[in-house]
């Protein structure tokens, strides 16, 4: 606040009347609030008021914003600081309000940020795209506006940008590059805008600070409300996650696939996303020990598994009552995760390839004998087949067409020569390769024949027909000569 007042002293002489009036109003309000504080200091009364104020502020559009409205914020910040420093307060009762305030603060920061962008656009239009973080943006503005930077002095700006605004080296590089083209150093801002900008900067920085303080405060107390989550990812990350979502219940409603990207930096066009681990969602969760203590190769899988477990833990925390919160499940899940991580980082098994057997040529087992000869006879060509494969010299072969229309040569099987010696060869025909009936089949056929005979007998008791008898005899013949 002292900086602000210094500021006002500086401005006194040149300010337009309008601004002067506005300022005095602000000052008057501040004084009253500050004087009120000691008497009615009760956090549970103050906090709802603060919340209302922030709510009203966040309904505002950026265009309609004026300095007087924003200036209410500063004393509230002081109030909040006092609340945090209080030891005896019941954190659990406080937390809902704190949880409500943090997103409101975030919204306000966003609002102020947009306001700043609007104001500063004329001077340096590209700056907002180069530096997405509101705090860094405001710090860079202060540095740029603090002195009159000439092109030759830009080199002196480097260390300041890095030390005060905490910009990365690439960001500094990109910024200085674009300053050469896009920064209108020769057209200074008019006094009113300049005042507004610097005022807003102060408020924004204070808001940022109180937001960080609140998050730290919550982190210290968080293990009471979300013990399972704390056990899995630690109090700091839990607080960040809960502050983002606005409470355990709200957090438990976020699906696990979205948790990894919470707290991720805004994408910058000049950044490359080629991490060794392949993780793009470097949010709050990515910084936890459960991921960072393992080899890079399994970061991605660990992050996914951890996200799933954190969601479960949040649901458990949301479901448990304040008086009997325990971390039994979180302990189980953590052990599970560690086990899985261990298995993931193990080397794969070496598969033992089976050697082929030695190619040895075993001697043939069967070579001769009555049994083996009989066995071989089964696969012998019949006499007719053998003849079919032979050709008579100097004569045209007789052919027939089979059912598929293929021409089949009959060879010597129908030749006159064959007919001449046919009787002799017929007698030599062996029965070795004929189809054989199995015992069961033989039995079945004889039974069927017997039944047929009996039937015929019963029919022909009076007059047995010759034809039927003939059939029966043929059956018998077949049976006797297989």
């Amino acid at each position: 606040m002292s900086s602000e007042e210094d500021y006002f002293d500086d401005l006194d002489c040149d300010l337009a009347d309008e601004i002067n009036e506005e300022k005095q109003n602000i000052r008057a309000q501040k004084v009253t609030i500050v004087s009120d504080q000691p008497e009615q200091y009760n956090p549970f009364e103050i906090l709802p008021k603060i919340i209302n104020l922030f709510k009203k502020l966040t309904y505002q559009s950026t265009d309609g914003l004026s300095l007087s409205e924003i200036s209410y914020i500063l004393p509230k910040i002081a109030d909040m600081k006092r609340i945090i420093q209080e030891e005896k307060l019941d954190f659990i009762k406080l937390l809902p309000s704190l949880n409500e305030i943090i997103p409101l603060i975030k919204k306000s920061i966003k609002l102020l940020h947009n306001f700043l962008i609007l104001l500063y656009k004329e001077r340096f239009p590209e700056l907002s795209t180069l530096i997405p973080s509101p705090l860094q943006y405001s710090k860079v503005i202060i540095l740029l506006e603090g002195e009159d930077w000439q092109k030759s002095e830009i080199d002196k700006l480097f260390p300041q940008l890095e030390n005060i605004a905490h910009l990365s080296k690439e960001q500094v590089l990109v910024l200085t590059m674009s300053m050469r083209t896009s920064f209108k150093s020769k057209e200074p801002l008019n006094f009113q805008t300049r005042t507004q900008i610097l005022e807003t900067n102060t408020i924004l920085e204070n808001l940022w600070q109180i937001q960080a303080d609140l998050e730290q405060y919550i982190a210290s107390k968080i293990s009471l409300i979300a013990p399972n989550m704390c056990f899995l990812v630690g109090s700091e990350v839990t607080a960040q996650l809960l502050a983002y979502a606005g409470g355990v219940l709200e957090f438990s409603r976020i699906p696990s696939c979205n948790i990894a990207s919470i707290g991720k930096n805004k994408h910058l066009s000049h950044e490359l996303h080629t991490l060794e681990s392949g993780v793009r969602q470097e949010g709050y969760l990515f910084t936890t020990d459960l991921i960072q203590s393992f080899p890079v190769a399994i970061h991605k899988q660990m992050l996914r598994m951890l996200c799933a477990k954190v969601t479960l833990a949040a649901r458990v925390d949301a479901g448990q009552r304040y008086d009997d919160k325990n971390t039994v499940l979180a302990q189980k899940w953590k052990a599970e995760l560690l086990e899985k991580a261990k298995k993931l980082s193990e080397a794969p098994n070496i598969v033992d390839t089976k050697a082929l057997p030695i190619p040895e040529d075993q001697p043939k087992k069967k070579r001769a004998g009555r049994k083996f000869r009989k066995y071989k006879e089964k696969f012998k060509l019949s006499h007719a087949r053998q003849l079919q494969n032979r050709m008579e010299f100097g004569k045209q072969e007789q052919t027939i067409l089979d059912s598929y229309g293929e021409e089949i040569g009959l060879g010597m099987s129908h030749s006159s020569l064959q007919k001449a010696v046919g009787a002799a060869s017929d007698s030599r025909r062996s029965a070795g390769n004929q189809a054989k009936l199995t015992k069961v089949m033989k039995h079945r056929i004889s039974e069927a024949n017997q039944q047929a005979d009996e039937y015929l007998m019963s029919l022909g008791d009076a007059e047995p027909s010759n034809i039927f008898l003939g059939v029966g005899q043929e059956h018998k013949k077949q049976r006797t000569k297989p």
């Binding site: 390839t353 082929l356 190619p359």
Partner: protein, 143 residues
């Protein structure tokens, strides 16, 4: 890369010992240079089947840059040559390429190589000096 997976024969003495001392198995030696393209392909193939044929064949590599002792005796003029020995005897195989002494072309199928090794091993067990390859490689005849 596959060349590190197979045993290297560093000197002529090692080559001799490998051939002489192996009494049960076929000895397969790839002569060539490890940075040669053909050798690299063949090494890859040999190393991938070495485990499977370990019961009847021992596969070695020999760099003809390091060990020039055999260049003259075995006429190792090709960039890549595979030779077969069984009980200190050189095994010949008719691949249909015209050179029965050695395999101086790339075999690109693992099963083909295993079949060749098996055939040579069978022949060697029957005291044959020359076997006929189960596959014809006439198309790979050196120009």
């Amino acid at each position: 890369m596959a060349s590190v997976l197979l045993p290297q024969l560093r000197t002529g003495w090692h080559v001799d010992q490998a051939i002489v001392t192996e009494s049960e198995r076929l000895v397969v030696i790839r002569f060539g240079r490890k940075n040669d393209r053909q050798c690299m392909i063949m090494d890859e193939l040999l190393s991938s089947i070495a485990e499977r044929v370990r019961n009847f064949a021992a596969i070695y590599l020999c760099d003809i840059g390091e060990v020039p002792d055999f260049d003259e005796m075995y006429e190792l003029t090709d960039p890549m040559t595979v030779m077969f020995f069984y009980q200190n005897k050189h095994m010949m195989c008719d691949f249909g390429t015209g050179n029965n002494n050695k395999l101086n072309f790339i075999v690109d199928d693992k099963q083909e190589m295993i079949d060749i090794l098996e055939t040579i091993f069978r022949g060697a067990r029957k005291n044959k000096g020359l076997v006929i390859s189960p596959y014809d490689y006439n198309h790979k005849r050196a120009p």
